[in-house]
């Protein structure tokens, strides 16, 4: 369902400048027919998770070749291939790294037999109160501030909106982010600035405990950085006949190079100017905007806001180029790696078509030779007996059945962890929840009511010792989950209040190497001679926005710490579980599995 973007053109050679905006599937088909006419190519400009791409659809093929860019879609296709019993050739690239793997039901591991690192997330408090890295500031700027100012007003937001203690206690406390009817935009901007970078920081400082072992942030007020009101620049937002959608704060301010690191004053100017431009030229969009990395003004705003916050917390500032990479989860990509991996995909595909089982290989494309090899072929392993996808192993879930609701279970476990798209949840013979197009209104109402109930109070009470069966009919994936009641969960380590086990969980990423440039996936560049720690979890680059219906739970994005700028990061396992939103316009990402995981324990194919 992707369309062609300019940034694709450095490597996706079937596309030209003139194709920007068109469907990739359709243009690719036309391009291929030019050099290989008379073959049958059917393009579908659609999401691979659509219900029409069901098991019967997949059964038509001798082999499936994946060029997907997110974990969710890959898991989905994996399950369909298992159900249809069609071999799957998986692949991905990021920068100079890449891999190709072959998955044949019954013969090799399925794609999910080895756990894939989940997207990196940060605890809410790190984002809202104690950032220590630039990425934390970006998440704050994008998912909190930008969302609050320009996104859906009904969505809950962790940003502190109250302006003083008295207001907090009153029922009709004003939301300081509300723009006054005839308020001067620059005044508004300065007001917001002072609130989030000044007042909120003062508030945070008042809690001594937080700062006992941490460096204290300093409050920053607009008047101290930018005492003079910014005058109108020539020919920018005054003339409405201009192309409003391409308004840019950088352009107005004469900041030409996106790779420059702006000082605090410049960031402040960009902050105010960007805000002005949104309100003057794009007022209609306000309230509906979500961050888009290709929206220059949004990127400018987020960069400026993140930098000012970073300045406050004594974190080094970054350029727009860097900030954009982090905020947009941009994966670095180049023509050559993709050419290599494409060649490997074809080689494996030919083996599959010839049913040359003994020759199937998982091939890893490295950046630096390991034992003099740049391409490492490995024989596939047998299926993992405790894989809940292809071996139907039951799982266990520890949860507080009196406190957690069905909704929590569905969102955090069934959708996020198990990757089900359209789940069905049964407790013995009782159908607790399902998703479908053909449901009756009363059925839907019943399910919605169930979602709001705690587990032990469901029509068919779910308590410790019982078992839930969750299914996704389209994926033909069934999972049995034994429920264990547990009273307490650690807020920091188990923020979801539930622990799923039985399926080898994703291991934390080990970031032990620094890269110096660009926004790459967190790669461990030192390669193991014995399988060690090659984890390219470009999935880490996935961003998930909390696109939840208004009025329901608030979410903080799962975020990716993609930037090598942040390579000193500690592994952070706590998660705020969010729905994963696919950014399918991203380039192919790579899942380099753990090289080491149980290699010695597993059986290779004979």
């Amino acid at each position: 369902m992707d369309t062609i973007e300019v940034s694709n053109l450095n490597r996706q050679f079937l596309f030209r400048q003139s194709h920007v905006g068109q469907s990739k599937a359709k243009v690719a088909r036309d391009a291929v027919l030019r050099f290989r006419p008379h073959i049958s190519i059917t393009p579908y400009h659609a999401n691979v998770k659509d219900s029409n791409f069901n098991v019967d659809f997949f059964k038509q093929f001798n082999v499936i070749l994946n060029g997907l860019d997110n974990l969710d879609a890959r898991r989905h296709v994996n399950r369909l291939c298992l159900a249809a019993e069609v071999p799957l050739v998986e692949s991905g690239t990021t920068g100079f790294l890449g891999q190709v793997t072959v998955h044949v039901k019954g013969k090799t591991e399925c794609y999910e037999c080895q756990p894939k690192p989940a997207p990196k997330t940060y605890p809410v408090c790190t984002i809202t109160s104690t950032p220590s890295k630039f990425v934390h500031c970006v998440v704050w700027a994008k998912d909190l501030l930008f969302a609050k100012l320009f996104g859906d007003k009904n969505q809950d937001n962790d940003l502190n909106v109250r302006s003083n203690d008295a207001a907090r206690s009153s029922k009709n406390a004003d939301d300081v982010f509300e723009w006054g009817e005839n308020e001067d935009i620059e005044q508004y901007g300065r007001r917001i600035y002072d609130h989030v970078f000044g007042y909120n920081i003062e508030q945070a400082l008042s809690n001594e405990e937080t700062w006992k072992n941490r460096n204290k942030p300093r409050p920053i007020y607009c008047r101290d950085v930018l005492p003079d009101i910014m005058t109108q620049r020539n020919g920018n937002n005054v003339d409405k006949t201009d192309d409003l959608s391409s308004a840019s704060a950088m352009a107005s301010l004469g900041l030409k190079n996106p790779q420059d690191i702006w000082c605090l004053m410049e960031n402040t100017k960009v902050f105010i100017e960007a805000l002005k431009l949104f309100f003057t030229n794009r007022r209609k969009e306000i309230g509906n905007l979500s961050f888009d990395k290709d929206d220059l003004l949004a990127v400018e705003f987020v960069t400026a806001a993140a930098n000012i916050r970073a300045a406050s917390f004594n974190i080094p500032l970054q350029s727009l180029f860097e900030a954009k990479g982090i905020a947009g989860n941009i994966v670095h990509a180049v023509a050559t790696t993709n050419a290599i991996v494409a060649g490997l995909i074809v080689i494996e595909a030919i083996k599959v078509l010839k049913k040359d089982t003994e020759s199937y290989r998982m091939t890893y494309c490295l950046e630096h030779p390991s034992k003099k090899m740049l391409l490492m072929p490995v024989e596939p392993f047998e299926p993992n007996k405790s894989c809940c996808v292809c071996s139907e192993t039951p799982l266990s879930l520890e949860i507080n059945t009196h406190r957690s609701k069905l909704w929590d279970f569905v969102e955090k476990i069934v959708k996020a962890k198990l990757g089900m798209n359209s789940p069905l949840i049964m407790h013995a013979t009782a159908l607790l929840y399902e998703v479908g197009d053909d449901l009756e209104e009363d059925e839907i109402a019943n399910y919605n009511a169930n979602l709001e109930k705690v587990l032990s109070e469901l029509p068919s009470p779910v308590t410790g010792g019982t078992m839930l069966t969750v299914e996704d009919l389209q994926q033909e994936f069934t999972c049995n989950i034994h429920i264990k009641h547990r009273e307490e969960f650690d807020e920091e380590k188990e923020p979801d209040g539930m622990v799923l086990s039985g399926w080898t969980q994703a291991l934390p990423e080990k970031k032990d190497a620094k890269t110096s440039n660009g926004n790459g996936a967190s790669t461990s560049k030192s390669l193991p001679t014995k399988p060690g720690n090659t984890e390219i979890d470009t999935e880490v680059k996935e961003i998930s926005d909390g696109t939840v219906s208004p009025g329901t739970k608030r979410k903080l994005s799962e975020f990716s710490d993609g930037s090598p700028v942040d390579h000193s990061s500690d592994v952070d396992e706590t998660r705020n579980n969010k729905k994963i939103q696919k950014h399918d316009d991203e380039d192919e990402l790579v899942m380099l599995d753990h090289w080491d995981s149980d290699m010695s324990k597993k059986q290779r194919l004979p």
């Binding site: 300019v6 940034s7 053109l9 450095n10 490597r11 050679f13 030209r16 030019r34 050099f35 006419p37 920068g95 100079f96 840019s248 950088m250 352009a251 030409k256 190079n257 996106p258 790779q259 690191i261 000082c263 605090l264 004053m265 220059l296 970073a310 300045a311 080094p316 500032l317 727009l320 180029f321 990479g325 941009i330 994966v331 670095h332 990509a333 180049v334 023509a335 050559t336 050419a339 080689i347 190497a513 620094k514 890269t515 110096s516 440039n517 660009g518 926004n519 790459g520 560049k525 030192s526 380039d587």
Partner: protein
Amino acid sequence: MAEPKTKYDRQLRIWGEQGQTALEKASICLLNCGPTGSETLKNLVLGGVGSITVIDGSKVELGDLGNNFMVDESCVGQSKAKCVCTFLQELNDAVKAKFIEEYPEALVDSNPSFFSQFTLVVATQLAEDSMMKLDKICREANVLLIFARSYGLTGFVRNSVKEHAVIESKPDHFLDDLRLNNPWSELKRFAESIDLKVPDPVAHKHTPYVVILVKMAEEWAKAHGGALPSTRDEKKEFKELLKAGMVAMDEDNYKEAIEASFKVFAPRGISSDLQQIIHDSCSEVDSNSSDFWVMVAALKEFIVNEGGGEAPLEGFNTRYDIFN
């Protein structure tokens, strides 16, 4: 602004402006534009290489249609160099593309000086004697040369480069030793101004670990004839000394000092690799010298004079001047 470079955004995140500029300045000569050569150029052209010149004397045949993206049916019978060039040009109109319909072997024999204009020559599917001749020509002209051949599922790529100089090497591990094993004068003076055994416990636990290390290292050196801990036992002993300096269990600065103690174990002076470079004859620079050697000459002067035998300290590359 950002717009002209948006096309290259994803690769800029790998090799930065510097890499991109180098690519855009380069002129490539391709010998033989069969599948190997065409594929090579395709990737360079997509990346924005400065210019390409395709040398191939053959005509497009039916068999070529099955293995080369850069030719199609309408090209059969025409010059392969011309067709490949046309296709490549489509991929990126910022690249200057030229072709010469001539057999590379003949060009190598008849016009060796032709190759001096290029940054890099990519020679594909050449027989050995031509490779040898070309190698000599390129070495003399100081032109980079890459040979490539492919046969079915095997092949080789071979570089022939006289000298490759890298200034910004972007190491995987940034050596962050602050050169504590031989502190510069300002740091020394700063350390001297601090008393490790300060009685106030709060001040004691806020003494920067760098100062702790510098002072303890100096004490050690005094007691060991000017040498720093070098054997395993000595290093262990040094760490014990640091531990002994703690007055409370929660002194993070001492813990940091112990963890960072390796920074004072490094031998003083410059490495033998660096010695070799600064003593290379090329470091006697003149107006023809490359930037790399001029920088080496400057580095050499520093080491001998201000550095007192040490290289300049590795600097930070992030900005902290946020108060502008």
